[in-house]
Symmetry: C2
Subunit: 332 residues, 2 copies
Amino acid sequence: MKAQQILLDSRPEGMPATTNFKLASIPLADINDGEFLVKNLWMSVDPYMRGRMIDRESYIAPFSIGEVLQGGAIGEVIESRHPEFPVGSKVSSMLGWRSHYVTDGSEHTRLPDTPMSESHFLGVLGMPGMTAWTGLNRIAELKKGETLFVSAASGAVGSVACQLGKLMGAKVIASVGSDEKAEHLLSIGVDAVINYKTSQNLTASLKAAAPEGIDVYFENVGGEHLSAALDNMNDHGRIAVCGMISQYNDTAPTPGPSNLAMIIIKKLKIEGFIVFEHWEHYPEFAKQMGQWLASGAVKAEQTVYEGLEQAPDAFIGLFEGKNRGKMVVKLA
Amino acid sequence: MKAQQILLDSRPEGMPATTNFKLASIPLADINDGEFLVKNLWMSVDPYMRGRMIDRESYIAPFSIGEVLQGGAIGEVIESRHPEFPVGSKVSSMLGWRSHYVTDGSEHTRLPDTPMSESHFLGVLGMPGMTAWTGLNRIAELKKGETLFVSAASGAVGSVACQLGKLMGAKVIASVGSDEKAEHLLSIGVDAVINYKTSQNLTASLKAAAPEGIDVYFENVGGEHLSAALDNMNDHGRIAVCGMISQYNDTAPTPGPSNLAMIIIKKLKIEGFIVFEHWEHYPEFAKQMGQWLASGAVKAEQTVYEGLEQAPDAFIGLFEGKNRGKMVVKLA
C-alpha cells in the first residue's frame, strides 16, 4: 500500500509558491502489534506554519527540506492492532499533509462523538478556537462593556474572537480585507467592520468606529494595524498578541510602529502567547464551546479545499485572504 | 519681595535649547492666614518633562507657553501663617523652576528629618527611586537568579534599578553612553556594562554580556535598545517600559523595531507604567530604601548644577548624558 505525502521542497522567499512543495508517494509498512493505520479525512493549514518554513529557532522546530510537512489532521483508523484505537475510531493528530500513515498512537487523541463534522476539531473546537478563547479570557481578560478590536477578523481565530467578544458583552470592532467579509461579520452581530484595504487611514477608521477608544486589541496582523490600535487604545488597555500575519512573508525586516511610546503614555500591557502553553484549559474551553455551538450562539465557519494536492494552494490562500473562517483541506 | 521664575517661552523643536526658556521676575503677594512662603532649596529636572513641552494629550497636562514651568522641588518655609508648616519646615512640592512662592500647603508634604541631604527626596528617595522600585517589583516582578538589562543605566532611575537588581539577586547588565559611566557602574557591582555609543552591534554586545539571555528589561531608551533586548529576551521575559528617551526629541516619527514578532515567538509581556499610579506603595518603598541607604547597600548618586538660571542647561544636559545619577539644581 502507498501513501501520498506533501514534502517541503524548498524554503519560500516571501510569499510561498506551489513550487516550494512536492507531492510524493511512499510505500507503507504493514502494521505491527500496538500499531494502527490511519486514513486522513481532513487536514489543517494555519498561518503559523509559515514560520516553521524558516530555518530559525522558535517555540517550535522548523520543517526540514525534503521531509513531509506536519500540521493538524483528523483521520479514521482503517486497520488496527492497537486495543485503544479500534477500526472506525476518529483520531486527531499533528500528522497532516499525508493521505495515510502507520502509528503507535502516541500524540493521538480519539475524538468524541459529535453531531458536527469532525473537521471542526481543526477549527472552532480545536487550536484556532482555543486560541481565541485563551487570548480573550486568559491574556487580555476582556470584561463586559469594554470595546474589543480584532484584526484578521474573518480568519479561523479572528472569527471566533469576534463571536466570543460579543458573548462576553463587549462592543466588537473588526478589520478584514474585503467588503464581502465585512458584510458577513456585520450579519453575525459584529458592531463595526473596517475594510483595511479601502481605508485611507486605519487610525482614523478605528477612531470613527470606536470613538470611546479600544480596551482590548486581539492582534493577528502587526504593522499598520498595531500602530492604529496603539493610537486608539484607552489607558490600561491590553493587547493579546496572537500573530502578525502581515509580516510572515517579509523578505527584509519591516520597521515597527513609530508610536510605541503609547505603551508608556497609556500604560498598556502587551502580551504574546502560544496556545499550546494553555492546553490544560482545553477541557473547560471545549465544554463551553460545545454548548455555544449546540445553541447556535457561535457559528462554526470554514472554507474547504478538496484533495491533498490542493493543500499548498489552501496554505498559500491564507496569505491571500481566500478563507472565511477556518481553512481546511478535505482529503479524498 | 520678588521671586525669580523660569517660564516656557516656546515649544522646543527637537533638542531643547536655552532659548525655549525665559527667566522672569515677579512680585510676591504678602501671605494671608493659612498660607506660607517657601524658598526653594533644590529643584529637579527629569526627562518626562520633555513630553509636557509638547502640546498633546497625555497622562499629564502639557505646559503652557508663557507660564512658569513645574517640577519636583524641595524648599524651606521662611514665613508662615499656617499651623502645620511652621518656619523652618522642609517641604516637597511640584513647584520647582522658581525661587520663592506663596502657598496654602495643598499638594505639599513635610519632609521627615534625615541625615542625608534633602535633595535625595528628588532622587533615590523620591520619584526616580520609586520608579525603579515599582518597575522591578510590581511591573516586571524580577526574581532572584534572573538576568536584568537596564538601559540609560547611569540615569536617575537606571542607576537605582541597577542597584536594586543586584539587591534582588539578579545578574545585572547595563547600557550607558560613556566609558567613564561604564567603569563607575562596574565599580558598584553591576556585572557587565555596554557603552552603546561604541558598540558596533547592540544585539551582539548584549548577547556577549548575557549569553544566558535576558529575563527582564527595564526600558528607558526605546529604538535600537528595545530591538536588541527583544532579540535577547528569554521565553516569558518581561519588559517594564518606563521611558523611551531616545525618541523624546524626535521631530519626525521614528520607526519602531522590526522584530516585534519576538513578542509572540518568546511569549513576552511588555508593560508601560507611570509611577504616580503606584504611589500608595510609597511608604513601603521609602522604608526599604531608607534602610538600604543607611546601610550603604544603595548609593545615592547625583549631579548638581547651581543656580536657578542653570536649570535649562541642567534639563538639556539630561539628553546629552551629562548627568550621573539624579540631575538636580541647587538654588541659591
